[in-house]
């Protein structure tokens, strides 16, 4: 599964994307956020306030309780500031 990071989430994690292989009991986006937060200081910093970070599965916005089963690409990013 590919994970992509944008804006300050990308800067804190220290990379724009990576391939990950989380354990089988990681079922939802919030499980994945908790698991990623344990993968190093940058991750912990990026997700220090998990309610602020938004997520998308396969290029659609999802909530934290969305299931990640079957996802090809999961993205994490701050609230959008386009327009």
């Amino acid at each position: 599964m590919k994970v992509r990071y944008f804006a300050w989430v990308r800067e804190r994690v220290g990379k724009a994307e990576e391939d990950i292989d989380p354990p089988a009991d990681i079922a939802t986006v919030s499980d994945l956020v908790a698991w990623l937060s344990r993968q190093g200081e940058g991750y912990a910093y990026a997700f220090e306030n998990p309610n602020v970070v938004r997520s998308a599965i396969d290029k659609r916005h999802v909530r934290a309780d969305a299931r990640i089963n079957g996802a090809k690409e999961i993205a994490f990013f701050p609230p959008m500031t386009g327009g």
Partner: protein, 164 residues
């Protein structure tokens, strides 16, 4: 497709500046069923929260940005009798005075054109995966970059389209 409901939708993400007048002309050319065109242009200001800036730098999520804007163009079409919609959003470095975003909506009457343009802008601000960084004044080394925080007023603006 009947001629009466013919609708042109143009959606582009690009680094280059756009030509708002040319886009309006492209949408209306050769048609006599359009009675109202609303154009919104978002422009880079020279200040952010009262502090001078030298540029904006826009990051986006390629693929998702197009898909998300496309979904909202479809939602606008379903909701209002539109005859044309154009959305162009730039990314990359943008200097003060330069255009950032263009939304053009065309309809027979003004109500639909105004409402759809506001709807699309409210959604672009809060749902399209773009992130703005401001570059503050200073020499090459000293230039500080700061991510712009999302505004709660933008979240309230988008809420109004849900109840209606």
């Amino acid at each position: 497709m009947s001629e009466a409901t013919e609708m042109t939708a143009i959606l582009r993400l690009q680094r280059e500046p756009f030509d708002a007048a040319g886009e309006v002309a492209a949408l209306t050319r050769g048609r006599a069923d359009i009675g109202a065109v609303v154009t919104f242009t978002g422009i880079c200001r020279a200040d952010e929260n009262g502090e001078p800036i030298t540029a904006l730098d826009l990051e986006h999520y390629p693929g998702m940005a197009e898909a998300e804007i496309g979904r909202h163009v479809e939602a606008a079409r379903a909701r209002w009798p539109l005859l044309g919609v154009t959305v162009i959003h730039r990314y990359g470095r943008i200097a003060p005075g330069e255009d950032i975003v263009l939304v053009v909506t065309a309809s027979s009457h003004r109500e639909a054109a105004f409402a759809a343009a506001e709807f699309l802008m409210d959604y672009l601000k809060t749902r399209a995966p773009f992130w703005k960084q401001v570059e503050k004044a200073g020499d090459e080394e000293a230039r500080a970059k700061t991510w712009i925080e999302a505004k709660s007023s933008d979240d309230s603006a988008v809420e109004r389209w849900k109840s209606a």
